[in-house]
């Protein structure tokens, strides 16, 4: 991607205006391809200049031929570089939701109408540059790329750059693409969270009846987490040196978990509370316990299962954020 001038604030404003986020496939047309000589390009121009001086001075025809031939090729390389982007079709794919702090994996699908592969394309995002493998003809090439997701909320793909200097590296053609892709970033789960209020009193995890190993409700093993009761630990597995595991039971009489904002009202930061609630929701889901979520401005009724968990996490992710502007 081009140098400092093109990253100047007013240039970026203009770029933003010119290339707003686009839903659906983006076809790279002439009106969105920009091209400038590279440093190597200027270097080659200097080389040709020196050769031209020598040719003039010695009146040497073949040196003229070399200068003019390579000069012509360099000039046409500009069109080749430009054409290397022309007609590319990019289709974006939303990333799966991630927890804050992990990268969101988006992907682009690139295709082009040529009969020969296209080489030397580079994808730029977040000041990172990624060289792409050759794009074969007549096929869509998936290009996964990771966008860091430091904060919860909606994460939109920033404006991406697609550039190339192929074939000679004398010119760099680039295009700004801004696919309207986004994903949800859940709060970062706190490392540990206390049990929800009232869980223990209602006979929560700690007070759950002791199911034996041969119980019909036995569901399987999961790895140990801090806070698991000692009577659930699968000692036999441990004795076989297969790690510290905890027996799980599909308890029909699972206690209900009430995840409540007010439990952590003493915490200073809302984000911290969301992290704690996030951990609680994950724990409840892991235990298979039905849980309800109460936030200051909304509630999620009692429920269980993957879908329920996603809904809860979604509410946590979007808590306090403005609703999405109408398209």
């Amino acid at each position: 991607m081009p140098g400092a001038v093109m990253r100047h604030a007013w240039v970026l404003r203009w770029v933003n205006r010119r290339h707003p986020p686009v839903t659906g496939p983006i076809r790279v047309e002439r009106n969105r391809i920009y091209i400038l000589p590279t440093r190597q390009g200027w270097g080659f121009a200097v080389l040709l200049g020196i050769m031209l001086l020598a040719a003039l001075n010695y009146g040497n025809s073949l040196l003229f031929v070399v200068c003019f031939w390579m000069g012509g090729a360099a000039f046409l390389a500009m069109y080749h570089t430009h054409r290397n982007l022309l007609g590319l079709v990019l289709t974006g794919q939303d990333a799966a939701p991630v927890f804050a702090g992990n990268p969101a994996m988006f992907s682009l699908h690139l295709s082009h109408p040529d009969t020969l592969p296209r080489y030397g394309l580079r994808l730029h995002h977040d000041a990172q540059t990624m060289a792409l493998a050759a794009l074969p003809a007549g096929a869509e090439t998936p290009v996964p790329f990771a966008i860091p997701a430091p904060r919860r909320g909606r994460l939109a793909v920033p404006r991406l750059g697609l550039s190339t200097t192929y074939p000679l590296g004398l010119f760099e053609a680039w295009t700004w693409i801004h696919p309207a892709l986004e994903t949800l970033v859940y709060p970062h789960p706190a490392r540990q969270a206390p049990l929800p209020r009232g869980t223990a009193a209602q006979g929560g995890v700690g007070a759950a009846s002791d199911h034996g190993e041969g119980s019909e409700d036995y569901r399987g093993l999961r790895s140990y987490r801090a806070g698991d009761g000692a009577h659930h630990i699968a000692w036999r597995t441990l004795a076989r040196e297969r790690g510290l595991m905890v027996k799980q039971f599909s308890e029909t009489d699972q206690p209900e978990w009430q995840l409540d904002w007010t439990q952590f009202a003493h915490e200073a930061e809302a984000e911290r509370i969301l992290s704690l609630l996030c951990r609680q929701a994950l724990e409840a889901h892991d235990c298979g316990a039905p849980f309800a979520l109460r936030l200051p401005d909304r509630q999620l009724p009692l429920g269980v299962g993957e879908r329920h968990l996603q809904q809860a996490l979604r509410q946590l992710a979007l808590f306090g954020l403005p609703a999405r502007a109408a398209p």
Binding site: R30, Q40, G43, F44, L47, I50, M51, L53, A54, L56, N57, Y58, G59, N60, S61, L62, L63, F64, V65, V66, C67, F68, W69, M70, G71, G72, A73, F75, L76, A77, M78, Y79, H80, H82, R83, L86, G87, P113, D114, L116, P117, Y119, G120, A131, L132, A133, A134, T165, Y166, P167, L168, G169
Partner: protein, 693 residues
């Protein structure tokens, strides 16, 4: 950029260096090649991890050593050859410090430069053209090194390079034709080494011209603008030699500073000579030149002397007379010089000449007596005459009687001077081979010749060629015919085989064209060529303007052609393209398509909003849907759709609709507003393909 496989990168770099150095292999000193090869070996070792890359100080030391070595070899570092040597050494050093992709590209750049600098040494045909071919693999290697690991295969890179160079070919030709040429260098060019002087020298001693007799090297080529004179008249004058010291003929001081007075006795012959570099300042011209089109040269006497030795191929036009009277009056000083002989030596020849002088009153008869001597005594024309004693002319005339043209010319002039006839030696070339393929004459070094001129009171300087008396076939058929028995086997084979003869002449014709058009394309040739092409002004600024204009134009055409291939167009499908045109026109009139809006809804919305469009949009919608969704559209459907579309100009219709005066029969707005647009959508929905759109 990820680095490609190290082995491939290495092979590419070494290949580039080899291609770039190849043109220099023959003329740069061996040690430069060895140094470059050592650096290449160093690169191999460094890449293989068997050697550490040299540090900065070591590299600096090597660079200074190389500089000193070049300076010691050539005495300078800024000439063509020394520059090439230096470039090769610096390329070698660069090989030892390759770290990044940029370094690799720099190596490629240097290789281009080194390849180009080879032409400063040799631009002649096979080598020059072959070195130009080197641009292709260099460009391919450039692409591969540039693209790195994710780049194309070598074959694909070669293909891309070939396409690039083929597309650049017309640009190269335009630039080559139009780029303004300078008549002199921008700064003085230092000469590395004197050009090997091969050809006629400025003096004539026995054996000097015979040494050239076996040489097939081309001295010059001549194209006549009119008919070509017969072989016996083709005397090419180079130098006039006045002074004899008993061994050697030469001209100590210039005898005449102005052209010798000339009275033409016939029509002039115009011709153009392309002279090969000879390292001497004189320009050969036919017989007696009258006009020479070259500002750097002067006619003194009737010789043409260039300001400095000819180190590059020269082209000049001239005209000459074959019938003339040269110097009707002989200046007394010149007369004295034309009669001067050493005090002593060659008594027998002097005695013979004095005998003629006493017996024959007419100088012309004395010369005839000398020619008769040559013709009747057993003189023999040979490339390999026996050595002569101190009285060379006596020895030759009365003892050995074997000699080449310089023996005959020298002895004849000696005899004439001794007999009181003013005489001088002329050296140059005689004859020339016609190349029917190129319609020009080739004069070789083997055609070098010497003859005599005597001054007669009523006729001026008259050419006498004593060699013709001994070996008339030398003059009629050329030296090769006269010396057939003496030429070495390969030379003879070349002359005698018809096929080889044809091949040789074809090759020479190709060379001639190459020299004429490619190497000789200087300011003069550019002016004549461009004038013929219809350029009114060949002033540099004007040429640069045209050059830029045409280059950019042609480049843009190539670029557009690359980008406008069928598969880049928005729509291949004529129906979709037509509909696209329709939506663009409607958008410009203020009705863009809304997201998610199908064609029927869109056109209905437009028609409802603008009554003037009602009828045509109804037709277009019907035709479009029929084309798009019916299983077998009528063959006339597409042309009809296109026709309707052509006639539909929304903004014009709207304007006309708002001004009833323009269109008195337009239906009133009220009448139309009540009609709903009739859309034949139901039929479309029932077809199976409707769902897929």
């Amino acid at each position: 950029m990820k680095a490609a496989r190290p082995g491939r990168t290495l092979a590419l770099l070494l290949g580039c260096v080899a291609i770039a150095y190849l043109p220099h292999l023959a003329h740069l000193p061996l040690w430069v090649g060895v140094a470059l090869a050592s650096c290449a070996a160093g690169l191999i070792a460094i890449t293989g991890g068997r050697m550490a890359a040299p540090g900065r100080w070591l590299r600096l030391g090597l660079a200074l050593t190389g500089l000193a070595a070049v300076a010691a070899q050539y005495g300078r570092i800024n000439g063509a050859d020394s520059g090439s040597a230096l470039l090769a050494l610096m390329l070698g050093l660069k090989l030892l410090e390759i770290r990044t992709g940029r370094d690799r590209i720099l190596v490629v750049y240097l290789c281009f430069f080194l390849l180009g600098s080879g032409f400063l040494h040799d631009q002649a045909l096979p080598g020059g053209a072959l070195a130009l071919l080197g641009l292709l693999p260099l460009t391919a290697a450039w692409i591969l090194l540039q693209a790195g690991a994710d780049g194309p295969s070598p074959a694909m890179a070669l293909r891309t390079a070939a396409v690039l160079l083929a597309q650049a070919l017309p640009l190269m030709l335009i630039l080559f034709l139009l780029f303004p040429r300078l008549s002199g260098p921008l700064w003085s060019i230092p000469r590395d080494t004197g050009t090997t002087r091969f050809g006629l020298s400025d003096h004539m001693a026995p054996g000097a011209i015979a040494a050239l007799g076996q040489s097939g090297a081309v001295a010059f080529r001549v194209r006549f603008f009119g008919p070509t004179p017969p072989p016996a008249s083709r005397y090419w004058r180079a130098l006039v030699l006045w002074d004899y010291d008993g061994q050697t003929w030469r001209t100590r001081q210039p005898a005449e500073t102005n052209p010798t007075p000339l009275t033409p006795l016939g029509a002039p012959l115009s011709y153009e000579i392309t002279l090969e570099p000879q390292g001497q300042p004189w320009l050969p011209l036919l017989d007696v030149p009258a006009r020479l089109e070259r500002t750097q040269a002067r006619l003194t006497g009737r010789e043409a002397i260039e300001g400095k030795p000819v180190e590059e191929r020269l082209r000049y036009e001239a005209s000459s007379y074959l019938n003339y009277r040269l110097a009707a009056e002989l200046d007394p000083g010149l007369r004295g010089r034309a009669l001067a002989l050493p005090e002593k030596g060659n008594p027998a020849a002097r005695a013979l000449a004095e005998q003629w002088q006493a017996r024959l009153a007419n100088p012309a008869e004395r010369s005839r007596a000398a020619l008769t001597l040559f013709r009747q005594a057993p003189f023999y024309y040979t490339l390999d005459p026996p050595p002569l004693g101190p009285n060379g002319i006596d020895d030759f005339l009365f003892n050995t009687q074997r000699g080449f043209c310089e023996h005959y010319a020298g002895a004849f002039v000696f005899l004439m001077r001794a007999a009181g006839v003013p005489a001088r030696v002329v050296t140059g070339y005689q004859g020339g081979e016609t190349n029917p393929l190129g319609d020009y004459l080739i004069v070789r070094q083997a055609d070098a010749h010497a003859w005599a001129e005597i001054w007669l009171a009523d006729r001026g300087w008259v050419r006498i060629d004593p060699t013709a008396a001994v070996a008339p076939e030398r003059i009629e058929d050329g030296a090769a015919a006269a010396l057939a028995g003496e030429l070495s086997a390969p030379v003879r084979l070349l002359r005698e085989s018809q096929t080889l003869q044809r091949l040789r002449l074809s090759w020479d014709a190709v060379n001639y064209r190459w020299n004429d058009w490619v190497l000789g394309y200087g300011p003069e040739k550019q002016r004549t060529t461009l004038t013929q092409l219809g350029f009114e002004s060949v002033e540099p600024g004007r040429l640069m303007g045209w050059m830029t204009l045409i280059t950019v134009g042609v480049g843009a055409m190539v670029g557009l052609w690359m980008g406008r291939r069928r598969d880049y167009r928005r729509e291949d499908d004529p129906v979709a393209a037509g509909f696209g045109r329709l939506t663009r026109r409607l958008s410009r009139a203020g009705y863009p398509v809304r997201p998610g809006e199908g064609p029927r809804d869109y056109l209905a919305r437009c028609a409802a909003a603008e009554p003037a469009w009602h009828i045509p949009l109804g037709e277009l919608c019907e035709q479009y849907l029929a084309l798009r969704y019916s299983l077998e559209p009528a063959p006339q459907a597409l042309p009809r759709f296109k026709r309707t579309l052509r006639r539909f100009h929304p903004r014009w219709l709207r304007l006309r609709g708002r001004m009833p005066l323009l269109h008195p029969h337009a239906p009133s707005v009220d009448a139309l507003a009540t009609n709903a647009l009739v859309i034949p959508g139901d039929a479309a929905r029932t077809t199976p393909r409707a769902a897929s759109d």
